[in-house]
């Protein structure tokens, strides 16, 4: 545990912001949906996959990225986008389906695109992995020293696009970092039922790609592993596979009954809350007082509330706008 105060506090602030954003969405989402849950109702309809519990991974990796480093994400994209430094207002507005959203309401929570931070995501598992390879290829062709990062889950590591992407990245020696967030489940399917090896880090060898496993609940550990991976890419030394073992504190999506969980499983994982782990490390160093932690939480509450207010007050797109943007 060898990071300076600034860096650790930045990580902490990112994690608290992501947690605050997600937990607030977890409240707003149910507005007008209950008592009889109706997925189509409320200010935020459709599926909702929240990142609560995995914040240390997004924070620890994106801490090494600049605005112009491309990041591709998944159906669970909020944490990555926030850690990448997104403007919360158009992000929240997009999740609300408002005209002021990044995608003018066409994308929603699973399809958030912000070119100003080179961020994209999507709802198809594995779909974003080749995009990071392509972004890295563009970077290499332009002889820039940017780095592309692709986040995806352990479930996605079993789809063909994973294999093809890692092979291409290694073949072409591309500046890309693959981050597998192993949160133990793909919806209800546990890793043992989906993955024929204990650790996806073992799969790096199949491509000659250096791979490392890290505790995804420990932001500092993620930060250090990601630092090495991102530096390797920036120095033109090719791709890395980072496997972060983590856990989602909410269901796969909101409304998930989680009947597939073991008894007390979630409770024991909650003892490894990334906020407490990093917060504890900071407090041990005397770098974070309870009052300071309070202040950070309050600041993040305010930022999320401001974004929420912006989103709520923004207009919906006109129905006819559905016909725009099919072609450039």
């Amino acid at each position: 545990m060898s990071l300076d105060k600034e860096t650790m506090l930045d990580l902490y602030r990112d994690i608290v912001l992501i947690r605050t954003f997600e937990e607030r969405l977890g409240v707003i989402y149910y507005e007008d949906k209950l008592p009889a849950f109706d997925i189509a109702a409320g200010p935020i309809p459709g599926e909702m996959h929240l990142y609560t519990g995995q914040e240390a991974v997004a924070a620890g990796v994106c801490a090494h990225l600049n605005k112009d480093d491309p990041v591709t994400s998944t159906h669970r994209p909020h944490g990555h986008m926030i850690a990448k430094g997104v403007d919360l207002n158009p992000m929240m507005a997009e999740i609300f389906g408002k005209k002021t959203g990044f995608c003018q309401g066409k994308g929603g929570h699973m399809h958030l695109f912000d070119p100003s931070i080179h961020f994209g995501c999507g709802g198809i598992v594995g779909g974003g992995i080749p995009h990071a390879v392509g972004a890295a290829l563009a970077i290499k062709m332009k002889k820039e020293n940017r780095v592309a990062v692709s986040f995806f889950g352990e479930g996605a590591a079993n789809i063909g696009a994973f294999h093809e992407s890692l092979n291409l990245a290694a073949l072409w020696d591309l500046p890309v970092v693959f981050v597998v967030e192993d949160n133990l489940y793909a919806i209800s399917v546990p890793k043992e039922a989906s993955t024929s090896v204990r650790s996806n880090a073992e799969r790096g060898a199949a491509y000659g790609i250096p791979a490392v496993q890290v505790d995804g609940q420990d932001a500092v550990a993620v930060y250090e592993a990601a630092q090495e991976a991102v530096n390797r890419a920036r120095n033109g030394e090719g791709p890395t596979l980072v496997e972060a073992i983590c856990y989602r504190f909410r269901g796969h999506f909101e409304g998930d009954a989680e009947g597939y969980l073991q008894e007390n499983e979630k409770e024991s994982w909650k003892e490894k809350d990334p906020i407490n782990i990093l917060g504890g490390q900071l407090k041990d160093q005397g770098w974070l007082s309870d009052a300071e932690a309070e202040a950070i939480q309050t600041e993040m509450n305010d930022r999320v509330m401001a974004a929420e207010q912006f989103a709520r007050e923004s207009p919906y797109p006109a129905p006819e706008e559905a016909l725009d943007h099919v072609f450039a």
Binding site: F37, G105, K106, H111, V125, G126, I159, A161, P319, L323
Partner: protein, 336 residues
């Protein structure tokens, strides 16, 4: 004595269970079909009944598990594979298109592929462009695949039983909004009478779900429900609409379509799939081929206007056919 009512998802699960009891070679594989019971309930309770050997949760490997189903079928099994959302077809399309659909033909009939590939379709709940598609037209365009699209619990059970017993590959499309799920917008037409005993419904027989004489409405899946709602409203205004649920696109019940058009002289096609180069065009074409002189007005098509499905509610409602737009189209057709 009161009829037994079932939701569509329970009707599907019951059909699968009865066939699994009847035939050892039937099994199910796919993502979250075991402990979870299928994201849309189509396999609920099957793991408990039949165990993990025959109800197999797979990794996220569409090419792999659909190809596995094809291979198992060549060795005498009768697999049922669930694709979850049809939108994910692209991850396994080669196995669907070049293998599942073609092996029987390429082999000159010496190798059968008796399998069912089921998938959820449709939108209207803001799941956006990658989770709201219908796409049955793509597969109906593919020689070698039978395309089944039930619109009621009764049809779902009978057509699923038929699909499992069919010796050809069948794609079975069920609409998320028609499953009768507790977390979807309540839909009374998603629950209905379903006999307990096993029964089949032959493919290629459309069902006239509402008789009428002024205009023929051709449709499938959740749009059947909306067209029936529209027909009831139109009836109040003295307009008699005949709502035909095609039920299967391959084989297609050309006769029922043509006979209805010859009776009403006007036709509206309501399609939740994309407008161009799909189901709606094909239906107009066969009518123009077989009933051209009976048409008193150009056929009308109400479908998704060649845009991906947008997330935001007002835009989504603008592109997916609604009861109001169905009614307006019928009126325009009558007046023309």
């Amino acid at each position: 004595m009161s009829e037994r009512l079932l939701t569509t998802s329970k009707a599907m699960a019951e059909a699968i269970a009865q066939e699994m009891e009847r035939d050892e070679s039937v099994f199910v594989l796919g993502e979250d079909i075991g402990a979870y019971g299928g994201i849309f309930g189509a396999t609920e309770g099957l793991l408990q009944k039949f165990g993990p050997e025959r109800i197999i949760d797979t990794p996220i490997s569409e090419m792999g598990f659909i190809g596995t189903a094809v291979g198992a079928a060549t060795e005498g099994m009768r697999p049922i594979a669930e694709l979850m959302f049809v939108d994910f077809f692209g991850a396994g399309m080669d196995q669907i298109y070049n293998h599942m659909a073609k092996i029987h033909y390429m082999s000159g009939g010496n190798t059968k592929i008796p399998m069912v590939l089921m998938a959820a379709i449709g939108g209207s709940y803001s799941d956006a462009a990658q989770h709201s598609q219908c796409l049955y037209s793509l597969f109906a365009h593919t020689p070698g695949i039978k395309v089944v699209i039930p619109a009621s619990p009764y049809d779902a059970k009978g057509l699923m039983t038929q699909a499992i017993r069919d010796d050809s590959p069948v794609m079975f499309f069920f609409h998320k909004g028609g499953q009768g799920l507790g977390w979807m917008t309540p839909n009374p037409r998603a629950t209905g009478h379903v006999p307990e005993e096993s029964y089949t419904i032959p493919f290629g027989k459309a069902d006239i779900k509402h008789e009428g004489s002024d205009v023929t409405i051709l449709t499938v899946s959740l749009m059947v429900h909306r067209c029936l709602d529209a027909a009831e409203k139109l009836a109040e205004e003295g307009i008699s609409a005949e709502v035909i649920d095609l039920r299967t696109l391959v084989p297609l019940d050309r006769e029922t379509i043509i006979n209805s058009v010859k009776k009403t002289h006007r036709v509206l096609i309501v399609d939740e799939d994309y407008l161009s180069y799909g189901m709606s065009g094909e239906l107009v074409a066969i009518i123009a081929e077989d009933a051209l002189d009976y048409l008193d007005a150009p056929p009308k098509r109400l479908a998704v206007p060649d845009v991906p499905i947008p997330y935001s509610r007002p835009m989504e409602q603008h592109v997916i056919p609604t009861i109001d737009r169905i009614i307006n189209n019928v009126k325009e057709l009558i007046e023309s």
